[in-house]
Assembly symmetry: C2
Homo-oligomer: 349 residues x 2
DNA sequence: CGGCTCTCAGCAAACGATTGCAGTCATCTT
DNA sequence: AAGATGACTGCAATCGTTTGCTGAGAGCCG
């Protein structure tokens, strides 16, 4: 036996056949080309020797690396780890491995990442980094199978799996309206991200849906889905003298920023202002107050994205040319309460 | 020009030399073997053609994959993403890539992961999954360079980079003692993890350090560093009728579990019981109440671990045979308050 | 001027697997 | 019984780099 890891030729020698035969016997796909008995002998020999194929050598010949690039803005954003788990679990079942790259929302870092991925010969890519119209990704998509997760690009040239944002914000404003809120603000996310733009648009529509007229004065746009931007946005709203009793934030991080801005100004949530977030990030139930928010199926999104990508890699290019949108659900906690006016009325009664 | 990506022979043809010469000219290490002018010509040709070496082919020949395995219990635990970022950033600077595997603390999943890593030919491994005496990892460590992060094994056969747990819990109990607490409980982590055992031991020592005598009645061990176990542990303590005014939890997650248990029993934090956590996980300042905890340098730990591993891979086997322990810092927030007895005294005064 | 060393570049054999092609039997057909 | 068919399996090329060895030419010294 040769030193080090056991290789194809070791198994071949042990089974008394040619390496090529071993190769064929070992692969499901080519098993039928070799005699049943021989195959058994080979399988047994491989088992005894503890043979594991060398993926590097295999890749060199087949041009497949069984590796999927996963591009994120920032792994540190609690939104992503559950998605990544979903992706990894689904990939692992198919023998694939995920390679994670953080782009920090910098186009040049993204470029570098794409480059790395391509030279490392990823078989495909799952990206959560797309801006609404993202040339870079579109280009990359033409070179390898790609699917988007939690993001979308303008023309649906790249399939995406996303949460049902429209439904989510509709549920949020309906919840608020049901509590008697009539002046509802929107601390919106960046409009160059599909999630930001979609939710803003959905907010407008939902407002009208419950018979409220959108007021531009009550909408402020952040430049990123961060606590910082959430706080800043709310501050500018408040400073402009806008009056409202509830707000829906672009996502949970921004909602958290609103919490900060609120305490800084001596306002109470939910007594003075109700806030609802988006994403139901981990520990959202532990915040002060526990955050009412829209739960999106992070893990499931990851799985679906991975499965979709694998399907496309298997040549099933037709697989879901439609975007996959997963249902969301409002989870009510303590950051929303009846509107002050209604509370007053209730007190009077 | 041949189709697809440009390869060594394309560059060779363009520069009018043999592929072997290109290979030598392109590598810093072997550059000196080729004539200066020729090297320039090769470099220029490579540049013009946009040549990028095929890492698969390279790996096959050199047996190095420029890939580092990172084994975590669970990426979803907020403790890890910052570490991973640190690891990835440091690795990227050296041209390495991280491959992340989640073991969910299951030995068999860990085994599978190790296997995958080995067959994928990782050049080294950073593990955060070690139990105190971990045969599996010890064995793996004999086959490839390895460093531990945030964990330690019993006999220091594997170098580790950890936070200064002892100092951390000392600071915690000193803080509590300074607030007048005299009966301090410990909701300890699992003892089969070094972090669990170390912190427990440090807790005992710190208590004595401030002139308090440890009381076994005030110590409960969890079976995992989870909210669930934190809650369960505190419940058993309370049910046993233990009386105390403060507690230090094994980590932040367990502290959060304590929060739950406390409200479930109608107790208030910090009015009835002060709690301090460990790790200063993201958003610890957003909890209710904001959590007093020990901040550990997650990102820096990741970087250091990666750098240490790289050093060892470069043959610098001597590099830090000592563990690297990074300083920690208590950050005081609102989950700790003066002991009730002292508050009473103050009220009287 | 012969022989020596030295520098540089090409040759070819790896690395470990996959795969088109071709050859060897045994079996079947007529 | 001869040829055709079919089922297996071996041969050898190939994927793109790296690297030990060899060879060619230049320069140097005695």
């Amino acid at each position: 036996m040769s030193p080090g890891p056991v290789k194809l030729s070791d198994v071949a020698e042990r089974a008394g056949v040619h390496p090529a035969t071993v190769s064929r016997a070992l692969s499901e796909r080519t098993r039928h080309m070799v005699n049943g008995d021989t195959a058994q002998r080979v399988l047994a020999a491989a088992e005894e020797l503890g043979y594991t194929p060398n993926p590097i050598a295999r890749s060199l010949k087949t041009n497949r690396s069984f590796t999927i690039a996963v591009m994120l803005p920032d792994l540190t954003n609690p939104l992503f780890p559950p998605m990544v788990r979903g992706i990894e679990d689904a990939l692992a079942e198919a023998g694939f491995t995920a390679l994670i790259a953080n782009t920090d929302n910098h186009p040049d870092r993204a470029l570098a990442a794409v480059e790395t991925m391509r030279t490392r010969l990823a078989d495909g890519c799952i990206a959560a980094t797309a801006t609404r119209d993202d040339g870079l990704l579109a280009e990359a998509a033409s070179e390898m199978p790609m699917v988007l997760i939690n993001r979308r690009v303008l023309n649906h040239e790249i399939p995406a799996v996303v949460a049902d944002d429209r439904s989510g914000v509709r549920q949020a404003v309906e919840h608020l309206a049901a509590l008697g809120h009539e002046r509802i603000a929107h601390v919106a996310g960046p409009q160059w991200l599909a999630t930001g733009a979609d939710r803003h648009e959905a907010f407008l529509a939902a407002l009208r849906g419950v018979g409220l007229e959108p007021d531009p004065q009550l909408i402020s746009f952040g430049e990123g889905f961060t606590e910082e931007q959430g706080a800043r946005s709310l501050h500018t709203l408040l400073e402009a003298g806008a009056s409202f009793t509830a707000l829906v934030a672009g996502n949970d991080l921004m909602a958290l920023g609103c919490y900060d801005a609120l305490v800084e100004r001596g306002l109470s949530c939910p007594d003075d202002i109700s806030v609802v977030g988006f994403n139901d990030m981990p520990f959202a139930d532990k915040f002060n107050p526990p955050l009412t928010t829209v739960r999106i199926p992070h893990y499931a999104m990851g799985r679906r994205a991975a499965e979709l990508l694998l399907a496309r890699i298997e040549g099933n290019a037709s697989a879901a040319s439609e975007d996959i949108v997963l249902p969301v659900e409002l989870v009510q906690r303590a950051s929303t309460a009846p509107a002050p006016s209604r509370r007053a009325r209730q007190a009077r009664a």
